[in-house]
């Protein structure tokens, strides 16, 4: 038990963050296993950034404990950062430094720096090496940040909304790079994102934060197995109350028929109901919508 806990890349125990009277994060607990891709989802202001700041030792949680590789982050930040690569939500590298200078600066800090790998990535992204970071486009800044984060061959990669503001091509390049890294080295990844469609094929486990609380912490497979999306045509006489045995999480009816997300039972036997594959986005909207109604 102890050795397993020690090797966990991420372990959060009852983490709380408070800003004055505002409780930004409330008793959030979850773990990320080695090699796992954990997608932390939530609406704006749900507490994702506070949690990431605690995970990286930028901020001390007001309650609970955050551990990376079995060590408390706040006190062991410097040591831990040798094993962690970070892509921040807002590209935060000094704007006057050129990409070349940034690579030299970061390279001098890590004994495991993979210069050839960084050069290859930057070449693939077609980044101008002698342009100041502040003058790169939003997409290029994200790509440079990713190349720098992967430079020391980290055991854990923390990506805070890495596709924010990127066009479809740049987004695809970021995910391709991540897939390559995962395939090659099995790096553990924690990613926060609003790009639910993009992360769906990548994530093993999902955490959904809502109003500071961790609403869901489950594998994507389990979530999809537990929830089913059904629809019915307007001509079908399906009453939403007929769905009660299937514990609907969310439902709506209109002139075009109706649809619902069910949380138990097998609805395929019900006449008039069509069962569809459920996307992560539909699941997220239903879960968060339900939580908002409940609160």
């Amino acid at each position: 038990m102890t050795s397993q806990v020690e090797t966990l890349p991420i372990a959060c125990h009852q983490v709380g963050v408070r800003y004055g009277r505002t409780q930004a994060l409330n008793q959030a607990s979850f773990q990320v296993e080695p090699g796992q891709v954990y997608a932390l989802l939530g609406r704006n202001g749900s507490g994702k950034t506070s949690l990431v700041r605690c995970l990286l030792g930028h901020q001390k949680p007001t309650a609970g404990r955050v551990e990376l590789f079995g060590q408390e982050v706040w006190s062991a930040r410097q040591t831990l950062m040798h094993r962690v690569g970070v892509v921040a939500e807002e590209p935060d590298a000094p704007p006057l430094m050129t990409t070349r200078q940034l690579v030299r600066f970061c390279g001098s800090l890590y004994p495991t720096w993979d210069q050839a790998g960084v050069d290859q990535r930057l070449g693939r992204f077609r980044i101008p090496m002698d342009l100041p970071f502040g003058r790169l486009s939003r997409g290029q800044k994200g790509q440079v940040s990713l190349a720098l984060a992967l430079g020391p061959k980290p055991a854990l990669l923390v990506l805070d909304d890495p596709t924010l503001g990127l066009d479809a091509v740049a987004r695809r390049e970021v995910y391709d790079e991540l897939l390559g890294e995962l395939g090659e080295r099995g790096t553990t990844v924690l990613i926060t994102t609003h790009d639910l469609a993009g992360i769906e094929g990548l994530a093993d486990r999902i955490g959904i934060l809502h109003q500071g609380r961790l609403l869901v912490d489950a594998s994507l497979e389990d979530l999809k197995a537990r929830h089913r999306k059904v629809s019915w045509a307007p001509t079908q006489a399906v009453d939403p109350t007929d769905l009660a045995p299937f514990a609907p999480l969310w439902s709506r009816t209109g002139s075009l028929g109706g649809e619902a997300i069910l949380t138990q039972g097998d609805p395929s036997q019900v006449p008039g109901l069509q069962v569809h594959p459920l996307s992560l986005e539909e699941l997220f909207v239903a879960l968060v919508g339900e939580a908002e109604v409940a609160s």
Binding site: R53, L56, G57, H58, Q59, K60, R77, Q78, T79, M81, H82, V84, V86, A88, E90, D92, A93, P94, P95, L96, M97, Q101, F105, C106, S108, L109, Y110, P132
Partner: protein, 268 residues
């Protein structure tokens, strides 16, 4: 090595300061050629060089101190340092070293050429030249650390600023009171020693406050401000206490001033 990496990073993009210093240097040198009397011209150039060099070094230190951490925090760019395997002390010392180096380099570049060209430096003892550079550098350190603390206090816009204002006011009122007591006893030399002691202690306190702001505040500007405020309040309290003990000791062991009345001074 990591400290120097931070220092090098801080110098990036600040070459304009050196250009400004070179410009000031040219002005100091040119001032020699607008004076008919060569002796006066050389004296003038030396004075201009020392003044321009010291002033520029202090202004650079002040401006650098006011932006070295607080601007990164305000613009949410300090995380870049925290995401690297750098200890808080390495980040802080690297930045302080960069500021001092930049101020010293700018000061020397602005002042040294005219001082050297005037030739008057040959008449000054090496010890005095060292003292001038030492005072200049010490001034840079004090200004850099002071304005780092002040910029954190101002930019965080938290209620701790009230404590800061009370502490600064109480500290200067205390120093004034102690100074007046020593002046009343004609202990001017002891007063200067007291000031130097307070300055040295204050600089140490500012250095500790600056380090704690980075180590404990990290990316949280308001938390950093709290650490700065508490550290400076404690420092001010300890310094005033030490100053009070020192003043009391001086006054106790100093022979009373003998006020002798002179016949001519008596008022009618």
């Amino acid at each position: 090595m990591s400290i120097l990496a931070v220092t090098r990073r801080e110098w990036t993009g600040r070459r304009n300061v050196l250009l400004l210093a070179a410009g000031l240097s040219v002005i100091s040198i040119l001032s020699m050629y607008f004076e008919a009397d060569p002796k006066v011209a050389h004296e003038k150039a030396t004075f201009m060089g020392i003044f321009a060099g010291t002033a520029l070094a202090w202004v650079v230190a002040l401006l650098y101190g006011a932006t070295m951490v607080s601007r990164d925090l305000e613009e949410r760019r300090f995380g870049f340092f925290l995401n690297q395997p750098l200890h808080a002390a390495q980040i802080f010392l690297g930045k302080v070293l960069a500021g001092l180096g930049l101020a010293l380099l700018a000061g020397l570049l602005a002042g040294l050429p005219s001082v050297l060209l005037s030739g008057l430096w040959r008449q000054v003892a090496l010890k005095d030249l060292g003292a001038i550079v030492g005072v200049g550098l010490a001034g840079c350190l004090v200004l850099l650390l002071l304005f780092h603390a002040v910029s954190i206090q101002v930019r965080s816009r938290s209620l701790w600023l009230l404590l800061d204002l009370v502490v600064w006011t109480a500290f200067f009122a205390g120093v004034r009171w102690l100074s007046l007591r020593l002046m009343g006893a004609w202990a001017f030399q002891d007063m200067v020693h007291l000031w130097l002691g307070l300055l040295a202690g204050g600089t140490l306190g500012l250095g500790i406050a600056g380090y704690l702001q980075v180590a404990e505040g990290r990316a949280d500007l308001q938390r950093g401000h709290r650490w700065v405020s508490i550290t400076l309040a404690l420092t001010a309290g300890l310094l005033l206490l030490a100053g009070w003990v020192d003043t009391a000791w001086v006054l106790k062991h100093r022979p009373p001033v003998a006020w002798t009345s002179q016949p001519g001074n008596r008022s009618r």
